[in-house]
Amino acid sequence: MDYKINEWVSFLRRYGPIPQNDNMYDESIRRLTKKLKIQPLSFEVPLRSQLIENFTSASPVSVILTGTAGDGKTHLCSQVWEAVGGEPAEWLSDSKVRRTKLKGGRRLIVVKDLSEVSIGRERKFLADLCESASAKDPKDVFLIAANDGQLIAALKELGSGKKERKVADAIERMLVDGTDSRKDLSLRLHNLSRTDVPELFSKMLDALLSHPGWKGCAGCPGTGDDSSVRCPIWHNYQTLVREQLLRRRLSDLLTLCELNDLHLAIRQILIVLTNAILGHPDVDDRLMSCESVDQVVSSGAAAKASPYRNVFGMNLTRRRREDLAAFDALSRFGIGNETNNAVDNILIYGSDDPQLAPYFDELVRPDAAYGFHRDFATAQKAYLESDVGGGAPPLLAELPSQRQRLFFTLPDSRATLLGLWELSLFRYGGEYLSEVYRPLLDRKPVKRAIVYRLVRGLNRIFTGFLVKDDRTLYVASSNSHSQSRISRLLTDTISVDPKKGEQINLEYDPAMKRVFLKVYLSPDIVVPPLPLHPVRYEFLSRVAEGALPSSFSRECYEDFLAFKSHVHKAIEVRRKKEGSVPSSDGTVTLTLFDVGADGFPRPRPLEVQA
């Protein structure tokens, strides 16, 4: 079969997990765009308009862009350059430091990659930058792009002038704290690693899917109605275009990664998307091309091009998957290996069992390409008819891809019934997004039932007992150590619902872009907020439903014990403020507590008289 060669596809491969790509990314893309006369992928990053506005305004400030490789710093710099009317020739030249005039007579100095600038010159810059940042109305403004590590190292080597040191320390603090500006500096620091993933992802996907290059596929036999010669690349492309659910679930996964501080740079996300469309385990570089489609289709292996498994990099070797940040991050969800009885029963017995058949017919059978495809049908039949030779039944090898597919195709209406998120390690992942993160982003409060459940988990960790009470936080310790595992002494209790200035809430911090657990002891005494990322949320929820803390996750357990220590400290502060007075007759009172079979702690005072 002669499939049409579309140069856009070979260009697109460049964005995928090809080994040669790792170092020479920009270079190779640039060369190809020139050669093939194809527009490169471009989409608007939210920061772009903010930056352009800054540099075209009447009082621009300097900007530092940080982030990891592949976050798009260089790209942003070039967009700003263009927008302020910088000379295109200057940008394309080899100079590492580019200068241009801004409206209003100021000078803009752009360094698109700090590591390109040699040590001696680096010092001059940063010193000038510090000078400019301390001034109220700077003559020169800077736009510098650097990796966090480079920036910090360069700042440390700055001379010891007081002004420079002050600005350098302020910048370092901003980096560590994640803030983007300070009142006393004419400087903004944007960390491109802290992005708004759903919005960015949506823009990237749209840019990819609506690229004119796809028009080049018109007229190819693989795009026609004949499913026996259908091109898997085209099919995957159409799937991504049509299936909003796939988009949405993938966006959810990426958001959860980001919220767990597993940042995926733009470049990494592009690798995932490209691999989703082009991935296949049997071809060169494990990415399909117009040339290799024929081989894939005629060998009957088109089912292995499933975008649902490509998203997790299942077409690549395990080594390669571990090396690429995006696939490493997505693999932590365990999708493909995690499951529940309902889903596996449908997959294994669905075409046979009359009770399961309606689900199977709705969820698996209609997809002849990646659901009920030939290999799966054969393996399933063989398994059900006990027609298994030695060794593991082939059906078992098919299940991971089927589960991965179901994760992206199970409709919302079935999600609760069949336990969609039980297909991942983060059973509470979906709930975290829909009941905690998104409502907080919309400035709506989180349902109290969820806060109560988290408090129940906290109580079990804080006391070491199987507490059921979830309206009160029991802060317990041993007499010598606040972080003890089994704590029999009750230091204090804190009301979850607002009462006498106490309360426990989930709040969103827009600067850090994260959800925090906040425990208020009084209107002005708050325990240092605990970042509640999806991993910790999962941990607390599982402990609340009965898991043993130290066996589920030792790391999270230590985190919460340390949090308990901070709660103790805050209680001490409150007591000091309240001026709690020891009893005048020398009596010492302790509060022990017992946890009854009903799970409610009962405080018991122990008094010793003088």
Partner: protein
């Protein structure tokens, strides 16, 4: 090999002054860092009461204090297996008290018969079950509570001055300090801190902690003691710290001050003080050994292996370093004796009249030898006599002092055999935490942290330090780089680090005053 100047010692009763001369009187393997802290707190409380905290008003090595015994408290907590029995055999609180008081009158030890009256307890805690709970709470947090040491060598947690007392050996009504577990290491610690120049700072910070009489648990401990009787206090003196000034003292005090400034809740800082103290004492032992040991020229380093399932070259280096350090004190002993033998006094005695007696006297003077305590000396030849002295010294060294490196290291979590056949330097999580809390104010870049650990304690973790300390190169450097990466992963699991990007990670101390929310 030049040792710093040493102060003269007085009246130390020992067969010969060898370890004492080099390290002081004294360090001992059975006194773990926690027990050292307890002895130290006891001394500090006594000196503070006398208005002399952290000073040596009569001159160096004149420490004299009176140690409390608190036998009533100790009997209640640690010589009291009858509580459950009494509760089961008798129904009412009245009966239980009556029975228990009877038993204690007969069975309590170390207290003269006349004073074995525990009835004050019943007036203070009428409910016997409450009394049992209270005892259990004290025992649950006791130091060495679970060990099979004698009951008179168990100690309650140091909640305050009324919980502090000396280690004793108790038989019948008699009690004496046999210096078994309080072997004076606490005294050395006290003198070191006196001479650190930061005594006032430390005192101010400990006021609210172990010196606070009003702390609830200290008051409880006081209420468990009789209102109108106190055991006679034991006057103690004789501590000897040879060096008047050492940078080590200030380093130790600095770590203490930094830890205390974190204002951790309650007594949480104490385990970290114990670890850091153990580390500094270990460094003191090894550094002084370097003054006398042949192979001590290079100073003291420790190659730290962050535990890895498979053996690496870092583990090998760590094992070798461990064995090198293990023998340093022994080498120091040998070196010191050699210097004594080659000293003018001994050499001229050898050549002069009556060489045997002259040499014997010269040796006796140099080492303060008490020939009676040394056992039979068979020989009549000077060289053979010296060799007997050497053999005695080495044997005595092996019995206790030689074990200090291993014991201290294990107690603080620096030395471990985990996952390997031989012990080496593999820091535990608790030890790592103590290091971070004592060294990081707020935040510190990871490489800076590694360098600081090297400069202050001689710890080699990453490749930059390996290059400098061990002249490592090539593949070895890669192994150390991976070692540092494993350290980062461990610190992340402990919630002590945040990675910003590819080449930049920050170690965080969430207790630092200006650092609230970062975790």
């Amino acid at each position: 090999m030049s040792a710093p100047n040493r102060l003269a010692s007085q009246g130390i009763e020992s067969a010969l002054l060898l370890e004492e001369a080099i390290w002081g009187h004294r360090l001992y393997d059975e006194q773990t860092p926690w027990l050292t802290l307890l002895e130290f707190f006891m001394i500090l409380a006594a000196e503070e009461e006398a208005g002399r905290a952290f000073t040596e008003p009569k001159g160096p090595n004149t420490l004299e204090y009176k140690a409390c015994r608190r036998l009533h408290l100790r009997n209640i907590l640690f010589n009291n297996p009858w509580l459950d029995l009494v509760r089961h055999e008798h129904g009412t609180s009245e009966d239980q008290w009556r029975r228990w008081l009877e038993i204690m009158r007969k069975e309590s030890a170390g207290i003269p018969m006349l004073h074995r009256d525990f009835s004050y307890l019943q007036k203070r805690i009428p409910n016997f079950a409450d009394f049992c709970d209270l005892v259990q709470l004290f025992c649950g947090s006791a130091i060495e509570g679970e060990s099979n040491k004698r009951w008179s060598s168990k100690f309650p947690f140091p909640f305050g001055p009324d919980c502090l007392f000396e280690d004793l050996r108790v038989t019948g009504e008699k009690a004496s300090n046999d210096r078994r577990f309080f072997a004076r290491t606490g005294e050395l610690l006290y003198l070191m801190l006196c001479r650190s120049g930061r005594g006032a700072d430390l005192c101010a910070r400990l006021q609210g902690l172990v010196l606070n009489r009003e702390a609830p648990w200290n008051r409880l401990a006081k209420l468990l003691q009789p209102p109108d009787y106190e055991d006679p206090r034991t006057p103690t003196s004789g501590a000897y710290l040879p060096y008047e000034k050492l940078p080590d003292y200030a380093e130790l005090a600095d770590d203490w001050v930094r830890l205390l400034d974190l204002k951790m809740p309650g007594y949480d800082v104490l385990p970290h003080l114990a670890n850091v103290t153990g580390l500094h004492l270990l460094l003191y032992v090894l550094r002084r050994a370097c003054d006398w040991a042949k192979s001590g020229r290079k100073g003291v380093t420790f190659v730290l292996e962050i535990v890895n399932p498979t053996p690496t070259m870092v583990r090998q280096a760590s094992i070798e370093q461990y064995e090198h350090n293990l023998y340093l004190p022994r080498e120091a002993i040998d070196g010191y004796l050699k210097v004594v033998w080659e000293s003018p006094a001994v050499q001229s005695a050898l050549r002069g009249q009556a060489p045997f007696h002259a040499t014997k006297t010269a040796l006796e003077n140099a080492l303060n030898i008490n020939w009676g305590k040394m056992g039979e000396q068979a020989s009549s030849e000077p060289k053979k006599l010296f060799e007997e002295v050497v053999r005695f010294a080495q044997k005595r060294h092996r019995q206790h002092f030689a074990n200090i490196h291993r014991e201290y290291g294990r107690e603080i979590g620096l030395i471990s055999r985990r996952g390997a056949r031989r012990p080496r330097y593999a820091p535990s999580d608790a030890f790592l935490r103590s290091l971070v809390f004592a060294n990081v104010a707020g935040h510190m870049e990871l490489n800076e942290f590694l360098e600081r650990l090297y400069l202050r304690y001689g710890f080699v973790v990453g490749d930059a330090q390996a290059k400098e300390a061990l002249r490592a190169s090539g593949a070895d450097r890669k192994a150390f780089r991976q070692n540092a990466m494993r350290l980062e992963a461990r610190l992340r699991a402990l919630g002590l680090i945040r990675r910003l990007s590819d080449d930049c990670a920050y170690v965080l101390n969430s207790y630092s005053p200006d650092r609230g929310a970062e975790r």
